[in-house]
């Protein structure tokens, strides 16, 4: 019994640690190190984003995206004219001939997706 009492007393004594006079300074030092680490991480993510963006843009340019857009417009126009021939009474899609509309819609969706990605990245930061 005395053994247990002594062990409990010892545990209490171990818990009883007076606050160090520089406790506040110690905490601030750790906060500064955390802030530094956080800032570094933010810079790294930003730099990776810029590099990724540059790579993506260069890949777009290199793959003749504008030419592909034009050909997509042509295909859309061809598709709409074929549809009007097959079912001329079906005027439900009268503006499909505006092939560029589809391309713009796709670009809009892509921008919204990029918006989601950016929001997620900012939340992560």
């Amino acid at each position: 019994m005395a053994e247990v009492d002594f062990e409990r007393r010892l545990e209490r004594m171990f818990q009883d640690i007076p606050a160090f006079p520089d406790a506040g300074e110690f905490a601030e030092r750790i906060e500064r190190r955390l802030d530094r680490g956080w800032a570094t991480r933010r810079w790294l993510i930003g730099a990776a984003g810029v590099v990724g963006g540059v790579l993506g843009a260069s890949q777009l340019i290199m793959s003749n995206v504008f030419q592909r857009v034009e050909s997509a417009e042509g295909s859309a126009r061809l598709l709409s004219s074929s549809l009007s021939q097959v079912a001329p009474q079906a005027s439900l899609i009268p503006d499909l001939s505006a092939g560029s509309g589809i391309v713009w819609a796709a670009m809009g969706v892509a921008i919204v997706m990029m918006g989601f990605v950016l929001t997620r990245v900012i939340e992560e930061i």
Binding site: R12, D16, I30, L34
Partner: protein, 193 residues
Amino acid sequence: MPGSKTIRFASLHDVELCTHAAVGERRAFGELVRRHGSSVRGLLRRMGAQPAEADDVAQDAFLTAFERIAEYRGEGSFAGWMKRIAARLYLRKLQRDRKLHLFADESGIEEEIQGGDADAAIDLDEALKTLSPGERICVSLCFAAGLSHGEAAEALNLPLGTVKSHVKRGLDKLRTRLATPQGAASQGRRGNG
């Protein structure tokens, strides 16, 4: 307004602060450091680390804890979780410095227990100095960091029997040392304060 945020954090419970810290709120974690920094630094010093070394390890332990804060789910106290991280980091440091093997066998070491030194103001820190490094670290791990004998043996990479005998010898010495009237009076003062 940073001031109001600090005040808000100061009124929160440890577990709530951990939740804030887990989403990257560094000021919340700073409040935890303010609350428990001294006990972690004190533990490391009681384990035998020099003050500067103890502070370095304590800093690393808090940074590690921030990275792993999501692992703390409020089971047990934050201070206990923190102390276990700090104790393990300190042991790893000793291992790197190749000092850990020194604790393996100290059966030959018998220090003189000066229980009759009536003039000395005896407290736990003083009493711990009479223990051998192995006894000191085993007693600290089991009674301050809250590790079981088995966990301490695993952390120290020592046989369970060695840890048990270190703890037993350490406790015997502490009991003798702290049984003096000065020791009891000193502890009584601390307990009342």
